[in-house]
């Protein structure tokens, strides 16, 4: 039986092997992806991102337990950890916090190394999520590398993105920097039993009020003046809720799962679900196209020409812009 058919019939070993094939860019892996693609589009992809040590893995563990016990849903988990840029090796340790999920055949956890990709995911994370989707996992939790200021890739992949913070990690200015907080559909202050939780939440709320148009009331010369935010163009706006959790004690998880569910409902109701799907599939197609064009183009550059041009760039006789133009025009340098 071929790989794709085994996966559709629920074979876990075949699933694990295909994930490896896809990660390793083998022709068999690509072929199976093509065959499985018509079976995708059913899962709710939930991204979990945030700085290292905020408790992402523990949250994923508790959420998965909730979806199993309360909702009876099949849960796939992809946990990404960084690859060493020096050796190409990686220690993937997210399973340490997910031991409660062992022994449940309706849960599938896969650890992934980022393999040189920046942005918090690996190049093939999206493809792995599609395989799990085709295999019938209804909720797919994708945990990013813990970095914290630029992992916007997850927002492109996931339908719902959770940004996890913890008390005492940074001052208010961290919250107003651009980047990670803007991608949040749900903000989670984990470790909410630690001191400083009010400050962390206040900083996030302040940031949200700046970013999202809400009705605000100012006091001017003692009189309340309401400043109306510009009305959104005819459509309801999703305001990211801020939720407190203590993942290790299973506190706040029910509320978090409810918020994730509300977000999915919001996306489906307003047509945003389809818009996000389209943006994701489009950026994926675009990325594949770029890779293919680039490697085809590079294959056509005569032996030694690239090295010769680079040597001249190093001598400061040619600028990188000129070098790129020479390559594109196919001129002699």
């Amino acid at each position: 039986m071929d790989l794709a058919a085994s996966i559709l019939s629920g074979n876990r070993l075949a699933l694990a092997r295909l994930l490896t094939q896809v990660e390793n860019h083998t022709p068999e892996g690509r072929q199976a992806l093509d065959l499985l693609f018509p079976h995708t589009g059913h899962a709710h992809l939930v991204g979990v991102t945030g700085a290292p040590g905020t408790g992402k893995s523990s949250l994923v563990n508790q959420l998965a337990l909730f979806y199993r016990r309360q909702a009876g849903k099949r849960v796939g988990i992809i946990a990404v950890d960084p690859t060493s840029p020096f050796t190409g090796g990686a220690v993937l340790g997210d399973r340490v916090r997910m031991r409660d999920l062992a022994g449940d055949p309706q849960v599938f956890i896969r650890s992934m190394a980022s393999r040189g990709s920046l942005g918090g995911l690996a190049h093939t994370t999206s493809a792995l999520a599609q395989v799990l989707d085709a295999a019938g996992f209804e909720i797919i939790l994708v945990e990013t590398v813990g970095a914290g200021q630029a992992e916007v890739d997850i927002a492109r992949l996931a339908h719902t993105t959770l940004v996890v913070e913890a008390p005492g990690l940074g001052d208010d200015i961290q919250a107003i920097k651009a980047g990670i907080l803007e991608i949040a559909d749900v903000l989670v202050v984990n470790k909410a039993d630690h001191p400083g939780v009010e400050n962390a939440e206040r900083a996030l709320r302040g940031m949200l009020e700046l970013a999202h148009p809400v009705r605000r009331v100012f006091r001017r010369h003692g009189q309340a003046v309401t400043v109306e935010a510009p009305p959104p163009a005819g459509e309801p706006v999703w305001l990211p809720p801020i939720l407190r959790t203590v993942a290790t004690e299973d506190k706040g998880i029910v509320e978090l799962a409810a918020a994730i569910d509300r977000h999915a409902g919001f996306l489906r109701q307003g047509g945003d679900w389809a818009r996000r799907e389209r943006a994701r599939l489009e950026s994926e197609t675009e990325m594949l196209l770029q890779e293919a064009l680039n490697s085809r183009f590079r294959a056509g550059i005569p032996q030694g020409k690239y090295e010769m041009l680079m040597a001249r760039v190093m001598e400061r006789r040619l600028s990188p812009w000129e070098a790129a133009r020479v390559l594109l025009d196919g001129r002699q340098a």
Partner: protein, 132 residues
Amino acid sequence: MSDRQIRILVAKPGLDGHDRGAKVVARALRDAGMEVIYTGLRQTPEMIAEAALQEDVDAVGLSILSGAHMALVPRVLELLKANGQEQVKVFLGGIIPDEDLPRLRQMGVTGIYGPGASTEDIVRDVRAAIPG
């Protein structure tokens, strides 16, 4: 273009809480360019076999200092086989008495490392045991 990466599960079955050795080996394998899935303390053989399956690893490294290796190792091997993963190599570190070595090797354990073993030897053996 295919970029095959060696994937190894490092696990600590049984009830002793000494994971220094397992972490040192995990680190050494990482530095040798492998992807190491580290699962932490007090894993049952069932948990180890399940993780090996989901992660599609090439080898499993077990660290056992409790003396329970003659019970735990055969069980892990049996479960791997039952899952269709008989090709997965198993290596072992910890406190293993000399008289147990022949039987463990006979069961199919590819390498056994006691205190003082060099991480270079472990890396070399693991690499050699994994085809292609």
